[in-house]
């Protein structure tokens, strides 16, 4: 038990909070590279 929760509950709930942090980092990277598109435009261009 961690913080009153079984480990599997604790682990998954922890990732509900950690995921936004990781994605915020990814967002910052995306914003920084916004002027340098790296994506091939598929067939829609």
């Amino acid at each position: 038990m961690i913080l009153g929760l079984p480990f599997n509950f604790f682990w998954l709930i922890a990732w509900l909070l950690l995921t936004p942090l990781c994605m915020w980092g990814a967002y910052e990277v995306e914003v920084r590279h916004a002027g340098h598109p790296h994506r091939e435009d598929g067939g829609t261009s």
């Binding site: 009153g4 509950f9 990732w15 509900l16 994605m23 994506r39 598929g42 067939g43």
Partner: protein, 458 residues
């Protein structure tokens, strides 16, 4: 005053408030096709967050989540596995989809396939598959709504009239206000849902066990196998968990209604920031699990586990509070149902009828046909909900199995020019055909393997 009258009054007030907001949202705006389907692509971060949350956190949050925690135990954790992952997927997929949508004025998922693969027949087929799998999801919302209102009103109103009344209201505000009406009803729905989940999810363990820690300790003593895989089931083990988490993570944003919601954002950056903050909303899910797990000890032997949360609220709190939760539950069905009805009607009118049957249709005629189709789809979903009764989660997984097949066509289509229309067509057709045949599930596994192999051969 009779408890059922008090509860029913609260449900009625909340549903009426939601209806008023829904109808009012569309006034003073010219409701052309673009405004009706994608809100003129002007939704900011807050409205997109509420709209997306309105579609993600549905009756499943109130019923299926606590219901699975009650009746199945450990396997319910698949919900906490897929939710953060699906937002990561949305972070990378929705912004480029939005960019393509703005560039080509797309309004539906099938529009995306038409522009990317340059085939109106593929687009019509994608629209057809989308509609076929929206119906069970819509049925799920209807059945959930009926169950919630029936229990929350102490049986004063039966589930069938509850479903009919609510869906007449939904069809009404979808017709008058389109996606903008749904988005504004989400404001009330999300406030009530967040309050309900946090209050009930924390209060129930404290009232009966003195806290979350003692509740789990009591559960481990009474049912040591309930919290580990496969919980109270025999077949939902780790392989099921992994495959389901993967399927739902990649398939979730392939529901056609999420494309419409994405196109309503005013920028791709709005969608990125939305993906970053959406996982916070998922904190409501473990709180619902706590209620379901508490119910396994407090109310063992319920015939319908999906109602465990409402049974606990009914046992623990006064009638007015049950009515409040019931009203919130009704809105959690009405909001996603509104978007689904809107999406299915648009797919039918814009991507099936116009390109295939009547190529000369104007946007006004498409809008008129889509609005007529809203009524047809509402009646079809009502009939299927009234005359069939599978469990909520099984209905949901049928739908995911269907729309998940769009994932390769969307993602590979965004990032590579090598993907072709026949490949995508064959993929969706051959892999989703089994889901479309009602008798498929009753075939022996060996026979299904033989049929699949025959279909897959060149």
């Amino acid at each position: 005053v009779n408890s059922s009258v008090v509860a029913l009054a609260f449900i009625s007030v909340i549903v009426s408030a939601g209806a008023f907001i829904g109808f009012y949202a569309g006034t003073r705006r010219k409701m052309d096709l673009e405004q009706w389907i994608v809100g003129d692509r002007g939704f900011g971060m807050l409205l997109v967050w509420l709209l997306m949350a309105g579609e993600v956190y549905t009756t499943f949050t109130f019923l299926g989540a606590s219901g699975w925690a009650y009746s199945k135990g450990g396997p319910v954790l698949y919900v906490l596995g897929y939710q953060p992952l699906m937002y990561v997927v949305s972070f990378f997929i929705l912004p480029p989809v939005w960019e393509v949508g703005r560039k080509f004025c797309l309004q539906t998922q099938a529009d995306f396939f038409q522009v990317r693969y340059k085939s109106k027949y593929l687009a019509a087929f994608v629209a057809l598959v989308g509609i076929i799998f929206i119906i069970p999801y819509l049925q799920l919302q209807l059945m959930g709504l009926g169950m919630i209102v029936e229990v929350a009103s102490y049986g004063a109103i039966h589930r069938t009239p509850a479903m009919i009344i609510s869906f007449v209201i939904v069809a009404g505000f979808v017709l008058t206000s389109g996606i903008r009406g749904v988005a504004w009803v989400s404001v009330l729905k999300d406030l009530l849902l967040l309050f309900s989940a946090v209050f009930v999810g924390l209060a129930v363990p404290y009232i009966y066990f003195g806290g979350i820690d003692p509740m789990f300790a009591a559960l481990v003593r009474a049912k040591p196998a309930h919290l580990v895989m496969p919980g109270a089931t025999t077949n939902l083990g780790h392989s099921w968990y992994i495959s389901t988490v993967l399927l739902v993570s990649v398939g979730f944003y392939m529901w056609p209604q999420f494309f419409g919601a994405s196109f309503s954002a005013k920028s791709s950056d709005t969608l990125r920031r939305n993906a970053v903050v959406m996982p916070f909303y998922s904190i409501t899910m473990p709180l619902m699990f706590f209620v379901g797990l508490a119910a396994t000890l407090i109310l063992p032997g319920l015939t319908n586990g999906d109602l465990s949360m409402f049974a606990m609220v009914r046992k623990t709190f006064p009638a007015w509070f049950l009515g409040l939760i019931g009203g919130a539950g009704a809105l959690t069905a009405m909001v996603p149902a509104g978007v689904m009805i809107l999406t299915a009607a648009t797919l039918f009118a814009k991507n099936m009828c116009r390109p295939i049957l009547w190529p000369g249709m104007t946007d006004q005629q498409v809008a008129k046909l889509a609005k007529t189709t809203v009524l047809v789809i509402t009646v079809a979903a009502l009939c299927s909900a009234i005359y069939s009764s599978p469990t909520l989660v099984s209905l949901l997984l049928v739908g995911y199995g269907g729309v998940g097949q769009f994932f390769p066509g969307v993602v590979l289509g965004l990032y590579s020019k090598r993907v072709t229309m026949p490949g995508v067509f064959a993929g969706v057709l051959l892999l989703r055909l089994p889901n479309m045949i009602p008798s498929w599930g009753s075939m022996p596994v060996s026979l299904r393997c033989v049929v699949t192999r025959q279909l897959s051969q060149p």
